[in-house]
Symmetry: D3
Subunit: 211 residues, 6 copies
């Protein structure tokens, strides 16, 4: 499925594979993992392909891990059985917030894959124990702002990515001072704003899954 937030476009796909990684075999538990990548021309100036350079960069690694960890927060490994779901998030066009768009879209792809597994009786009960959605928020000119595009992102003094469950709890809170360190009041304002944004996305995800 293709997720679009402003001019950011991310293709999210879930693949179900029988079996789990070696370290998890014979545990009766499933696994969910994610791979995030950007096409070379997703940004305005071309980036070299990581396959050509022969190694994955730190940023790609970091985001892939974040996406996988976030999605695992809504999964019941026992109900999944010894199956692995791989979530591929490929950024076709990047204009800020690609990692949070990837998480939000990957949840929909995962829910679709789970529905497909239930149809084929590959799982008995639903391995989903909730939903996850994510937003990026930032402080610009002293003001907390939701969903920064690339230009705002660059200008932001503080940048925060928040992943929430559908019932409003937190899975991941990552705040980073880009320029000046931030104080407790700013931290609180950003968390509030993000929680509201996630709630709105949860609603949109449900609509997408129902249609």
């Amino acid at each position: 499925m293709l997720v679009e937030f402003g001019r950011t476009r991310v293709l999210c796909a879930a693949s179900v594979q029988t079996g789990v990684p070696r370290w998890r075999r014979d545990s009766g538990l499933g696994w969910v993992t994610a791979e995030y990548a950007m096409l070379p021309r997703a940004t305005n100036t071309r980036n070299d392909r990581e396959s050509v350079r022969g190694k994955i960069g730190g940023r790609t690694h970091e985001i892939s891990r974040l996406v996988g960890r976030s999605l695992r927060a809504c999964v019941d490994y026992k109900a999944l059985g010894e199956n692995t779901v791989i979530l591929d998030c490929d950024v076709l066009e990047a204009d800020g917030g690609t990692r949070t768009a990837a998480i939000t879209g990957a949840y929909v792809a995962l829910a679709d894959a789970v529905a497909w597994m239930r149809d084929r009786k590959l799982v008995r009960s639903s391995p989903l124990v909730g939903s996850v959605a994510a937003v990026s928020v930032g402080v610009i000119d002293g003001e907390p702002r939701l969903d920064l595009c690339y230009e705002e992102d660059v200008a932001a003094e503080t940048d925060m990515n928040v992943v929430c469950t559908g019932d409003g709890r937190f899975v991941e809170v990552q705040g980073t001072a880009e320029g000046q360190p931030f104080d407790r009041a700013e931290l609180d304002a950003l968390v509030d704003l993000a929680a509201g944004g996630c709630a709105e996305l949860t609603r949109i995800q449900q609509e997408a899954l129902e249609s």
Copy 2:
């Protein structure tokens, strides 16, 4: 730009960079190169990412080289000056004929980039000396056929990729016997069929560029 042939979808983008590879410096001549890749879920069963495996596979290398070589056939390096155009062809969905779709789409992306360069006076005269388009043809049950989808491709006894210029000459002819070797009559029939298919694509490319 997004090229679609049947269910095959390839995203083709041209990036212009000042300067040329080291071996070509101070020659006054430009360079055109291409990188082809498939998203992991472009096919029905997921393929591992080449960036994760840490090396580019032989098939990817071979197709990237073919795309670059084909596009260079319509370029005047002198008119291009010491600039490099990189053509990125990323397969979003694969259902046969991805390499020929990539060549056909890359030409349109290249022509767009050349127009952009002319607008900004980065080149004086057009570095394009013609156009290129490509088709795949094959023999199925003894019959020559144009534009094979994936299932036909697998079933084909002979598989041929042909790249033509807009004036009907050949840039590349690659015929491979998948099952039985083919004879001269079959070779001739496939070349005829392909030449006709390329002529039709040339017309469609012109329309796309004019709109």
Copy 3:
């Protein structure tokens, strides 16, 4: 310098190199970067060397980036001039909290290196605009706790790493739900606890630098 927190031991070293990475040349600005790694026997069961596997794992990448970003928060690039400081953080023994120990120790190594540069007149004014320290906190059996050792870390429901400046503001807040998602009250309690821990570490860093 060797940092010890409980049984965790991290060797932190700062190396000053003339010049900056290519993308920053001729800007008049310096750069600070970090590399984090674990010896194969830092943990109880041996880990394969990343040099032998030929690639750096995602966890190593993620922590190296966090350490670098945190230390850059207290650096004035202009005062540093076109010099690069590389912070090497090698974990000799790991018992929880290695990334926060690395940040706290790297600050002391950086301050030492800056003093050495000032002694040799390599910089005119101090490139340090403050100090940074980091702690890990977590929720165990519903209780917020500071400085988790490995066994507690594994048992923690929520795990948070917080990087503060010496004047009590935040550079980085990274909270992750390991088991159940956490609510706003837990987030607040953890942030409070972490801020107190960082203040204590700031004091210890000053003592170490004065001696």
Copy 4:
């Protein structure tokens, strides 16, 4: 065995290994694969070793795949049983036409290996259903020419590699316009010339195998 065409010298060796690649296991079918490489001083100016660079170049990949595909055209996988034959083609000296020399020589090495397998009763019937040989042809100053040496190869307007079976059918036809695109008449002339060259090589292969 050492193949010599003009000053081109290629060492071709066939190795028989019990078992087949993972994706082919338990099919009852065998496999044939090839690896082509050049010694660093095969050419006049030294090329870096691909083992030192840590990756295989696109040209090497492309030729290895061509050699393997060509040789598989004369193999009956069922008669081969679950065995793998690896054909190593190492260019000691390169003066044009190394890929076609490799194919022609690899066939002789394969036929020798098959004879050795039959002697030891490793196969019941012959897994060879024919022979393959290959030539390179090109257009120089408007004239079709067989067996180009390096200097002619560089000067050629069109370059074509053709792989034929011993009974005169085509396994692979790869024509590439190096300078100007070629027309249908040139294509026909080159194919005719190549077919004649392959027939001559087939005769020489038989003589070599009989002695």
Copy 5:
């Protein structure tokens, strides 16, 4: 365990793993291997990490092999059973003689690991058939000298590493002319000196193991 010779400090650790490498399976025999590495700041000017460069350098490879080979000289593979001991030698600070310090320290780590295995009844009889120790010797200004520090090492005309068993026989003798070739008399003098040095180290190893 941490070995210190002058300012050289090497951390040596032995890890016992059940099973042996693939090529040794089902032989009933064990295996001993070693990995040597230097921290980036072990030397005065920082060295790049081999994990970051993505490949192990020739010097590291060579020393790892020497350490493994030397230690295997005192091991009875049969008594070890199908277990593997990995000896990690990580140089924290380097001031000459790191490879011989690694061998001497690795023996103590190995003997400790063997004692641990005997305590847990993982082996019936001792897999150690003797001990090994190593020294580096060199000729400086015409004089044979034991235990060269880095500055002496650089100045040495001849450099020799000698590995002896506890009963005074030789496991490895590696003499290298750094400047002028050496004659037979110099070779003899160095071997005598080294044998004496190893005997002294053997005594120190025994003391360390008894305490």
Copy 6:
């Protein structure tokens, strides 16, 4: 040039390149380096290509370094000027003693290259200050033996590689106990035998260079 010792065959080539590695620039001194490799079918059972595996093995690294170091013993870097000679030693067939054959042959290739440089006035005086040759010796059934073939090599209790200059001094002495450690008498006997073998090879090298 092709060196043959018994059934061992090594192709040795010297390539002269203008310039030296980065760390040696502007020193006025030249450099000599070597790369050793084995073709996959040099041995009786095929070895995987290091280019395919994507990394160079420890044995290859170790031998390349030994060959380079040995050849540098007879070179005057000042007379060579800022030129680099690369010695490629490719083993076509291996039956013991490949590293010593490589050194002995590389010297002849180097002397040829030096003569070529003198002819073209690329150097004023000869950069060769002597010659080097190498042999392998071993103890078999208690008897010292020269030039072990592969089967003897495997059976040898002690294995020693010795590199001598043409005037009978030692450049490298590498003795390794394969089974039992060796005593001083054995060491002496092997060194004597090797010195005699090198003297004989020096004579043969001179003959080869004069013809």
